[in-house]
């Protein structure tokens, strides 16, 4: 939906190697991405995959080992952090403990030698935006975690930076507050129209907040795309597994031609997939994994439909907003458990029942093994 906007930030072949005492750590390994103006771009990945390092290269706190960073057409790599005109929110907030909230927020404006009167107006305006007018005179230690977080955001935005960097800004908050604050961040970011790089390891947060997501692992980017694309059409097993819940059914590809693919499961059941939708590099008789999200599976007590798999309900877990079924398939050959999520209990299906699993081929993905 944001394709029309021009690219403002582009990262080309960025690498960062840390030289430890004994080994070298390839923290960021040749990554490239482009961010459109005003977008919220998220770096998502497990702990230690290089998100913070990437962000610190953008901020200028780390010198890239290789590659270049261009922002608004200028080469960023030779500019020291304090001249980059970036806003940044740190994981620990990093508010100045010896300054009042007002002074914290005014800091960047003072550094830019803005006249006093204007500083006051702008600080007031931004503090209003984050809805914390009453805290101006307090010290950071007299604020709650969520309030500190919003002040950190205000401090980073007050001098209207062209780029905003956020490193796991919500990780110190409790679950409820995280959900509230991520919407706040999105609201404020949209209002300030600032290009934003957001780092998180929480996939739900990433889906909820981002325009674009880059999923990282081991210093590399696995996939870049909108939240929908990342969730619905993961391009690697790692992405599919990392985002949300996923079922991977072992299968082998028996026949492939222009129009269709036939998959055979360990139980000798087969399904037919439309080749137009499922492009795969796998060739005949190779092994593969069929990917499908738990909420996309249908369960029915009626057996014997086409493109369905037979299974037995092992366990039903009631989770409030949803009901999770654990269904064992391929029982005779190589038993495997499949998750099915429904928002209410399915009629006539109890633990121990024989059932059929039905899926829509648009909802599936096929990953070749080896």
């Amino acid at each position: 939906m944001n394709q029309k906007r021009p690219i403002t930030l582009s990262i080309q072949n960025l690498s960062k190697v840390f030289h430890g005492k004994t080994e070298r750590v390839m923290a960021v390994d040749d990554i490239s991405f482009h961010v459109s103006e005003g977008d919220l771009f998220t770096l998502l990945g497990p702990s230690g995959c290089g998100k913070t390092t990437t962000l610190r290269c953008l901020a200028g706190f780390e010198k890239p080992s290789n590659g270049n960073i261009r922002f608004l057409g200028r080469d960023f790599t030779t500019i020291p952090p304090f001249r980059r005109n970036i806003g940044m929110v740190f994981q620990s907030y990093a508010l100045f403990p010896h300054m009042s909230i007002f002074d914290n927020v005014a800091y960047g404006l003072r550094m830019r030698k803005i006249p006093r009167r204007e500083i006051e107006q702008r600080v007031n305006r931004i503090i209003q935006l984050v809805e914390l007018e009453e805290t101006q005179k307090r010290k950071p230690s007299e604020l709650s975690g969520g309030q500190q977080q919003r002040i950190a955001l205000a401090r980073a935005l007050v001098y209207e930076p062209k780029l905003l960097l956020l490193d796991e800004p919500l990780s110190n908050l409790d679950a409820k507050l995280r959900i509230y604050m991520r919407e706040e961040i999105r609201r404020i970011q949209q209002k300030a129209k600032v290009t934003t790089i957001y780092v998180t390891h929480d996939q739900e947060e990433a889906l909820a907040i981002s325009d674009q997501i880059a999923v990282m692992s081991d210093g590399k980017i696995d996939q870049i795309g909108s939240p929908d694309e990342i969730y619905e059409k993961p391009q690697t097993i790692h992405v599919a597994d990392f985002i949300g819940q996923a079922n991977f059914l072992t299968c082998s590809l028996v026949k492939k031609n222009e129009e269709s693919v036939i998959l055979r499961f360990p139980s000798n059941e087969t399904v037919l997939l439309d080749q137009n939708k499922k492009r795969t590099s796998a060739c005949d008789h190779s092994k593969g994994l069929l990917f499908i999200r738990p909420e996309r599976l249908e369960v029915t007590p009626v057996l014997g439909k086409a493109n369905s798999l037979k299974g037995q309900v092992k366990r039903v877990l009631y989770l409030g907003s949803q009901v999770r079924y654990y269904i064992q398939i391929f029982q005779q050959s190589a038993p495997q458990e499949v998750l099915v999520d429904k928002n209410r209990r399915i009629k006539d299906v109890k633990e121990g029942d024989e059932v059929a699993l039905i899926f829509n081929e648009e909802d599936t993905g096929l990953f070749p093994l080896e």
Binding site: F82, G87, R155
Partner: protein
């Protein structure tokens, strides 16, 4: 819109490198250069210039030929080990009583137990003579009522007693700190398994705090083998290496022999460090726990009362010399009787006529050196903590080196470095300030480093990203946050410099006598009254500085000495 993006200036920031260069220059000029000169001197005969052929071991040969040198070497070791032994004997039980029993007035005991560290040891040393000497009060009464006298206080007994009483707090405070922070569950589980109180101390409590005891013992040893004032006053014919060095410098101005003795003195400290490292490495256990619960405190009445008795005795005897100083300063000579009878301000009137200059000199020198040490120590600690570069350990080592060198050795080094050659500073106040600065800068460095490592790096990064240059970040963010640590270090630096004697005695000149030199000169000529009046002024100055700093920082005195 604001964007101070003047690409022209977007080169690397040079200020940190400028500071680094300055620091290296200072370290080279004031530490490395003088010390290497001492080393060189010690291998040359007086008058010879440096060349390979001229290198000689004659300066060291006296340690084999001269009985004075041999005995001074043995005496120094003896004093060192006895002081360590007795300091442990006093310090460890005291720490245990305070940490593990239900004693009342713990804060008072703790503060009074820290006091000897701030009070210059030599000021009180002579009081031992007044109290326990041949003509002293105690012997006077002993003879009168029991018909016998104590053995002579001059020599080893006096030196060891006086030093132990002023050095034991190092063992006490370090052990106390370790006892407070060790894992309470370890002791509890040992108790559950059937260990009696004594078993517990022997098998769990003491072994766990051994590294801290070793650290305290090391400091005691280093101070004891490097102290000049106490053996100078109480030694008599009992020579130790520092008094021997003084003898060489003042008697013959022989920097070569003095250098050789200094090298031997340094090696002693080096050896002690090696031994304590060995002890600590063998017995270093991680005992940090997440629990905030303190260790079991014994409710035993016997233990409680033994604690009160023991601690009161130790504190009484450790402060007695200084109390004697203060009381005596208000009396008019002790002649006729063995104890003071007539109180007056005569001594103070006298010193205000004849000894105003030393007081002012001391204040000037201590304040100047403290300011210099504060600025440079802070910058150095910033570089050491925040900058990554190769050979950083050299910086750490050079900064901390003076910390372990005996004061008189630092004096000899500075004198060797700046009495001839490129820079000649003998007879000026500058040479004294340099000596002071070198000796005390580590205090500031340590305490600044401790407070800097508490500051989250991202706070400074947040300032940079908001548009602040390195300088702006340093002065607006880093420095204000470091200030309490720097202030604490500066106060300790100032207070200990006011009472500094070992380096001063080598570096002072007629025009730059300090309060401590004046005191020791009066004491050498047995002019007790004025000496003690000056001593009292010194004690009051030092205590006020510390108290003021404690007020400002809201800390306890014992906490200020954590890092020393």
């Amino acid at each position: 819109m604001v964007n101070g993006l003047k690409e022209r200036f977007d080169k690397i920031e040079f200020i940190p490198y400028l500071v680094l260069g300055l620091a290296l220059l200072i370290l080279l000029l004031f530490i490395a250069y003088p010390l290497s000169k001492v080393l060189l001197n010690s291998f040359l005969n007086a008058g010879d210039v440096f060349s390979i052929q001229n290198l000689t071991l004659t300066n060291f040969s006296q340690f084999f030929s001269s009985s004075l040198y041999k005995s001074a070497l043995m005496n120094t070791l003896l004093v060192g080990f006895l002081c360590v032994f007795f300091s442990c004997l006093l310090g460890i039980p005291m720490a245990y009583f305070l940490a593990r029993t239900e004693m009342p007035f713990k804060t008072i005991f703790l503060t009074l137990g820290t006091l000897p560290l701030i009070l210059p040891p030599f000021v009180g040393a002579y009081s031992w003579v007044l109290l326990f000497g041949r003509q002293g009060v105690v012997n006077f009464f002993l003879k009168e009522f029991f018909g016998f006298v104590l053995p002579d206080i001059y020599g080893a007994p006096g030196v060891v007693i006086a030093m132990t009483m002023s050095l034991y707090p190092f063992v006490f405070l370090l052990t106390y700190g370790a006892l407070l922070s060790s894992d309470p569950y370890l002791e509890e589980s040992a108790t559950i398994m059937g260990a009696s109180r004594w078993d517990l101390i022997r098998t769990v409590t003491l072994p766990l705090v051994t590294p801290s005891i070793a650290a305290g013992a090391l400091i005691v040893f280093m101070r004891a083998v490097g102290n000049f004032g106490v053996p100078a006053l109480l030694g008599g014919n009992f020579y130790v290496l520092p008094t021997l060095i003084h003898f060489q410098i003042v008697g013959f101005f022989n920097l070569h022999t003095a250098g050789a003795i200094a090298i031997v003195n340094i090696s002693m400290v080096g050896l002690a460090i090696l031994i304590s490292q060995y002890v600590m490495a063998k017995r270093s256990y991680v005992t940090i726990t997440g629990t905030t619960q303190g260790a079991q405190v014994s409710a035993s009445k016997t233990l409680k009362w033994s604690g009160i008795l023991f601690c009161s005795c130790v504190i009484f005897f450790s402060l007695l010399p200084h109390i004697t100083v203060i009381v005596t300063s208000f009396t008019e000579g002790w002649s006729g009787t063995r104890y003071p009878t007539k109180f007056s301000f005569e001594n103070y009137q006298r010193i205000f006529q004849i000894a105003k200059t030393p007081i002012l000199n001391s204040l000037f020198l201590a304040i100047t050196a403290t300011l210099v040490a504060t600025v440079i120590g802070t910058l150095l600690s910033y570089i050491a903590v925040r900058k990554q570069f190769h050979g950083k350990w050299i910086l750490d080592l050079t900064v901390m080196l003076p910390f372990i060198l005996p004061g008189i050795v630092v004096g000899v080094a500075i004198l060797s470095g700046f009495s001839s050659g490129l820079i000649v500073l003998t007879g000026t106040w500058m040479i004294m300030v340099i000596g002071f600065f070198i000796r005390r800068m580590p205090y500031i460095f340590r305490s600044a480093t401790a407070s800097l490592s508490q500051i989250d790096l991202s706070v400074e990064e947040a300032s940079a990203i908001a548009g602040a240059s390195w300088g702006a970040t340093f002065f607006r963010i880093t420095l204000p946050l470091m200030a309490p640590g720097i202030l604490a270090g500066a106060v300790i630096c100032f207070s200990t410099l006011m009472g500094e004697l070992s380096t001063t005695i080598i570096l002072y000149s007629a025009g730059w006598k300090t309060i401590t030199v004046a005191i020791i000169e009066y004491l050498f000529s047995a002019t007790i009254g004025p000496a003690y009046a000056l001593g009292t002024i010194l004690i009051v100055l030092v205590l006020s500085a510390i108290t003021l700093a404690n007020r400002l920082l809201g800390r306890k005195m014992s906490q200020m000495f954590k890092m020393v």
